[in-house]
Symmetry: C2
Subunit: 303 residues, 2 copies
């Protein structure tokens, strides 16, 4: 099995994981969350978002959070930036890496960004150009890469076209997002193979249909070495009892370490962080690994 | 990606899925469960077990269940048989395929079978010989193939030694079971590759650490075409709120169909069966696919 020796886990919990939580998480808890992730070995932590507070009230405290954490050398703290105004806020707060969020489908571009598939670039171009002028790195998400709820399956050529334009703008990394979690490993392999260089790709899989880890294995085999994941699997659907959406960092790390792939992460500390966070969110973690390891009273043989 | 064109899903729900349920499921419900599985396209359904009723009270109605269902031509209904006495019962009830359950580790052989790794064969040999004399096919499970809770990692050579002895006895199929769900895809590929012929192997993965589907992908790539799974993911740990253990048939089928692999199964009917069963068990299915598809009120984009 051809696999990388080392993988970077791109942790999205503080932003993507928390953004749909209805009850506002205090900024002190968010800051402690990020400190715990640093302590567990994370070197890339998407910290928050500069979207308009009316859209995502949970992350309205982005400035306060960035002031509350001490950003450490060697650790990246990218922040989601939707537009020019978001970039102003990022620059004013000394952010040195941002992430922008594009759509691979016409309908989602319209619903999420109020743009067409093509006109979304009019929004991104000045943001990326100005970020690069300020030596701010830009990661680009492409969402709905395998399908969306309205158009069905997304053609790989369309994802490649959108993704290539984003890379050509100067984005250093493209994160391919299966936002509704419908994709399977063959689609993952095919899509990655349709890009000229897997070294500039990351994958962002959702576990809605249980496929995230199998898709990740296919992505690793196709040469991808940056995997997005969320502490304890938080995020995704805010309505389900134990919301499942993002691939859980712990489930990913269990597989990576089992495959002998280095991550620099301490699984026990990750699980402890998820247990701690679950108490604060008042809901058990949907991660299988967290459920298995947090419940030490259950003998292994019964699991 | 090298993959088979067709896969046989070996459905273990009625036996492995139900065996740990504390509240006794009425025999009529079990019979309807099996009929629903047939209607969804299953052609191999492990129906029940002839273990001593004191060990597994839930399956004490094995004779009544076999009398209650009409066994259809072209569908296999293997029954678990632990020993000579179990085989007597199987033969008396016209069973034409049995499954035996071996251990790959010394400690589990001792705890589960009260035998040593070697002496378990003294129990299996006469059972298999007598079954074959009666034209009854025998499937063999090997459990704890990647590790057990007492000895840590199971050496692949040890699994191959146990498995080869079982095949040499005349078992037609060997199901490699990761009973505690600790394995990762590299181990799956290595273990399968250590056997001379993947055509005689099946895999039985547990989702305790979220690895079952990724391990299945590795098994498919290694040439295995028989995959064990349980309706809705029932079975495994009987203590957790939404018990997770066996790979959910629906999550498996979502992946297989996405990969373009034929199964003969109707996913909608499988999901409907899991929803129906969950109501009877009084507990939601742990399958991600069942959770996603059963909850039609949630817009896809929010999942």
């Amino acid at each position: 099995m051809r696999l990388p020796e080392r993988v970077t886990v791109y942790e999205v919990g503080p932003r993507d994981g928390l953004q749909n939580e209805k009850a506002i998480v205090p900024v002190e808890v968010k800051a402690e969350f990020i400190e715990r992730l640093e302590d567990a070995g994370h070197r890339v932590i998407e910290a928050t978002s500069f979207v308009h507070p009316a859209w995502v009230p949970q992350l309205a405290d982005a400035e306060q959070l960035l002031a509350a954490i001490s950003r450490k050398p060697g650790i990246r703290y990218p922040v989601l930036v939707p537009n020019d105004r978001g970039l102003d806020r990022a620059l004013a707060n000394g952010v040195d890496e941002i992430a922008i969020f594009a759509s691979a489908t016409e309908t989602f571009a319209n619903k999420n960004l109020n743009r067409t598939l093509d006109s979304q670039f009019e929004m991104f171009e000045p943001v990326v150009a100005r970020a690069l002028e300020h030596d701010v790195k830009v990661r680009a998400y492409v969402s709905m890469v395998f399908g969306d709820p309205w158009e069905g399956r997304t053609p790989a050529e369309q994802v490649v076209r959108v993704g290539t334009r984003l890379l050509d703008l100067g984005c250093h990394e493209l994160s391919l997002g299966d936002t509704i979690g419908v994709g399977t490993p063959g689609q993952a392999a095919d899509l990655i193979g349709a890009f000229p260089d897997p070294a500039r790709l990351a994958v962002h899989f959702h576990d809605t249909y249980g496929q995230a880890l199998a898709n990740t294995l296919a992505a690793l085999q196709a040469g991808v070495t940056v995997i997005d994941a969320s502490t304890g699997g938080i995020g995704g659907c805010p309505y389900a009892e134990s919301a499942t959406g993002n691939l859980a960092t712990e489930d990913l790390v269990w597989m990576l370490h089992g495959l002998g792939i280095e991550t620099g992460l301490d699984l026990d500390k990750l699980v402890a962080t998820s247990v701690w966070l679950a108490e604060r969110l008042g809901r058990p973690s949907p991660s299988r690994v967290v459920q298995a390891l947090a419940d030490k009273d259950t003998p292994d043989a019964e699991r």
